[in-house]
């Protein structure tokens, strides 16, 4: 007999992974952009 799988485990894992990775991508790209633009600004002085 096959054990029934809890569908919410897979739904929760998929949502948590996607939301976490998307927020990390947005945060990283924003911070990297700000840091690079600050370095460019500092080089002008």
């Amino acid at each position: 007999m096959r054990e029934a799988l809890d569908p919410w485990f897979f739904v929760n894992a998929a949502y948590a992974l996607t939301i976490g990775a998307t927020l990390a991508l947005v945060g990283w790209s924003w911070l990297a952009m700000r840091a690079a633009e600050r370095r460019r600004q500092a080089g002008r002085k």
């Binding site: 569908p7 897979f10 998929a14 992974l17 990775a21 790209s29 990297a32 690079a36």
Partner: protein
């Protein structure tokens, strides 16, 4: 289009467009995912796991859209030598790779309860995995070219050649037998019920806006790095 190739004009537009796309994208995505998780009905055959649709399809689309962006920007770089085209291609690489990886991960999490397996080596899944490896190769190559000072045209040719995988991914479920279902959304119409279709379109729009904002942020970062490096080089030559 040539007008936007001017870095100063690009920055003038990107300064307000980057946060606008990111904020709008986060709001629309949050609303669409809240609908998908809390409000969308369970499906007759797949039950609750159908909610993974609202993240799997947008991430699959953006995994492919990322490489289409790389290929289009590479073509523009090779033909018209626009100064921003190489940055646009490089800017799309990391978000494209992240969304391709999320597509594979969410697909695997959907496949286990729906098909009874995490992974099968069929045409759709394998060609998507090949796309992820192409992203890794492109990111490594473009990074090495920037560090070592080679020609960015090598990465552009790699971007164009890699685009051959996009139609393979799209048509894989038609060409070969697969556990993966054929496309539900085509230019001819939709085989999807209304409650799923509208939520899916909203999630796809939201994730696409985020993707656009991230690509612009990456382009601004890469442009700032190039300009800072050029200034340092000029200073070194003057002294």
């Amino acid at each position: 289009m040539h007008g936007f190739a001017n870095p100063a004009r690009f920055l003038r537009i990107a300064r307000w467009l980057t946060p606008a796309l990111l904020i709008a994208g986060l709001v629309v995505t949050a609303a669409a995912l809240a609908y998908g998780y809390f409000e969308a009905p369970a499906e007759r055959l797949q039950g609750e796991t159908v909610r993974i649709l609202f993240i799997h399809v947008p991430t699959a689309w953006l995994g492919m859209a990322g490489w289409i962006t790389i290929a289009a920007a590479s073509f523009v770089e090779l033909v018209w030598r626009h100064p921003l085209a190489a940055l646009a291609a490089r800017g799309a690489a990391v978000p494209g790779a992240v969304f391709a990886a999320l597509c594979l991960a969410s697909g695997s999490l959907w496949g286990r309860p729906a098909w009874g397996t995490w992974w099968v080596w069929d045409g759709r899944l394998t060609s998507m995995l090949v796309l992820l490896f192409l992203y890794f190769g492109y990111i490594a190559l473009a990074g090495a070219i920037q560090r070592e000072g080679g020609s960015s045209r090598i990465a552009a040719i790699f971007g164009l050649v890699g685009a051959v995988n996009i139609p393979i991914i799209h048509y894989s479920v038609i060409w070969w037998n697969s556990l993966h279902q054929p496309p539900s959304l085509t230019t001819g119409g939709s085989a999807m019920a209304g409650p799923f279709l509208w939520g899916l379109l909203a999630a796809t729009l939201g994730f696409s806006l985020i993707f656009g904002g991230v690509v612009l942020a990456r382009m601004r970062a890469l442009l700032a790095e190039v300009q800072a490096e050029a200034r340092l080089r000029r200073k070194a030559l003057e002294t």
